[in-house]
Amino acid sequence: MEVNGQLALTVLMGVFLIAVAAWLARVEDWRSYTPLAGGGTVGGTAEQYVSEEKPSGVIRWLTTVDHKDIGMLYGAYALIAFAVGGLMVVLMRIELADPSMTLISNTFYNSLLTSHGITMLFLFGTPIIAAFSNYFIPLLIGADDMAFPRINAIAFWLLPPAALLIWAGFFPIPDVIPAQTAWTMYTPLSAGVGSGNQVNAGVDLMLLGLHLSGVSATMGAINFIATIFTERDEKVSWANLDIFSWTILTQSGLILFAFPLLGSAIAMLLLDRNFGTMFFSVDGGAILWQHLFWFFGHPEVYILVLPPMGIVSLVLPRFAGRRLFGFKFVVYSTLAIGVLSFGVWAHHMFATGIDPRLRASFMAVSLAIAIPSAVKTFNWITTMWNGKIRLTTPMLFCIGFVSNFIIGGVTGVFLASIPVDLVLHDTYYVVGHFHYIVMGAIAFAGFAGLYYWFPIYTGRMYQVTLGKWHFWLSMVGTNLTFFAMILLGYGGMPRRYATYLPQFATLHQVATVGALILLVGQIIFVWNFAQSWLEGREVEDGDPWDLADDDLTTAEWTWFERKLETAVTDGGEDETELATDGGQAVDDADADSADDA
């Protein structure tokens, strides 16, 4: 048995490697007789050959190092993860519609809970941000591409294996069950100690996947820092840098300090689980894990929220008919949040019995960090004040963002106060707090971006009415679900349980209804997105939002305008379509397909 297994694996691996080698040989050959179409540039660069072209079809997407294509890949990936994580939670919410265990087992509930959290944070949140930053940062700062296009591609391609590993427990693999550690992976549970089933390899697989996604995020962050520092157009000085780039720069700095720490903590946990080390099982080991985890974990929440704030700061003024009020306030408070987010981590550990003097300091910094967040909120509101508001779908999502962020932020400030936290910790109040931000704000900003830039990356317009439906269902659903959770928390309902006392039933049912409303909204979104992409009205105007009327055009739209112009002068209809699908110059695409054949 054992030997047979090894043999089978060896054969499989061998065949796979040979297939890879053969495929590479073909691709390399194809490249070696690629005509040196670049002409003049050949002499100028150190590169041995310049292939202006991309192959066509699937191979193009597998081999691309173009920042726009990689942005599209990130986006597709993130939306798939969003669907997976969303369906997981729909199942959980249905289970919670009545107090006892009915639809799914408690252990399966725990597995879904764990996977939902990790999927949404690491496989949806970070990648959807990377989708926008990859596509638009180079355009916004006037760079030709990212500083390291190949590293950019590697960073993306680490993510699909990461997802497979994280979800591996759900696949029908013998003897592997999904992790039930929750996304915080507290030891000793996650170290496999005790009578539970968390020694299972499913936890190891999930840890490996998480580790990979961290490596990916770190590579991306290095790339963005290098790009924003070195690849800016000479006209784009620090004073001219747009707000989205500022938030991505700050976010990348946070990633650079936070993710390697998570990586090390995960490596230590894997060693504990598999090689008999004792990092987290000695005295104080459990609290050590919490410190390491939250030193990463709190910056992580700002890693997720800063770029969405950047998107809102960029998009909201365009539909308020004026520039962002107090632009520099927003920039400096972004940086302040970046620094302070490393000084608040133990506000997640107020209830662990750490020294009260330390708790006091963490509380102080947590209160201080609320200021820059509030400053931004005031700036958004003041930008809209007396503005020429146009309630387009992206604008609605921006306003929804501000509204939800206020509730999420205020509940956060309350949690940062030690006495309040000792009452509310580990209740649904906390779940309500952070979902107002992760769903109500981060996902909303993602949608704002997806709608705002839809014409750029598809060449078409979405269906406006469906967009509005999507917004209103999301807004109502979010507030219904998560406000009910805040109330549940006041009532003392603890989080992370598949069953509950009957007295909580009504509010749980409200939350479930809210979740179902959200589901309907997202189905409309998927339909609108897919159908408009394929059949929507083609955009012929490089300024579909009429930004020029208020002198609010930003660089990515002028890039788009020029792209449309060249597409028109180059030829007919078909080619416009080709161009829309990835934003490459049209004639190249044609040459490619000829080449590949």
Binding site: Q6, R150, L208
Partner: protein
């Protein structure tokens, strides 16, 4: 800068290596963690080969064989560290050493046969 749109396409916008680097890492990690010899060796080969490929392609190294040798030496050291020190993860160490040797052999074969052929194109 008033360049034509899509100038970024003048970079070489395609490279076959990133996917395989990204696949090599998890495969070798799985192999080493769960002590699955073939996965460890295969993953490391995939990873090492692709790293050399991408370095060569982007002009960071000029000689394939030297890059391969350097990587093989690193693998060898890592494998020896696993197998022959107190850590005593013997089978995993052997897997890394095997990958180092295969990588070196592969490099030599490429240097002697494949590269020559290519140049006659």
């Amino acid at each position: 800068m008033d360049e034509a749109p899509g100038l970024s396409d003048q970079y070489r916008t395609a490279s076959p290596w990133p996917v395989f680097i990204a696949l090599g890492i998890p495969i070798s990690e799985l192999g080493l963690l769960f002590d699955l010899f073939p996965l460890a060796v295969g993953g490391l080969l995939l990873f090492g080969g692709s790293v050399v490929g991408i370095l060569k392609e982007s002009g960071y190294v000029t000689s394939t064989i030297r890059a391969v040798t350097a990587l093989a030496v690193i693998f060898l050291a890592f494998g020896a560290w696993l197998a022959f020190t107190d850590i005593a993860l013997v089978t995993r160490g052997y897997a890394v050493i095997a990958a180092a040797i295969l990588l070196a052999v592969g490099g030599v074969v490429f240097e002697l046969f494949v590269r020559e052929q290519r140049q006659t194109f």
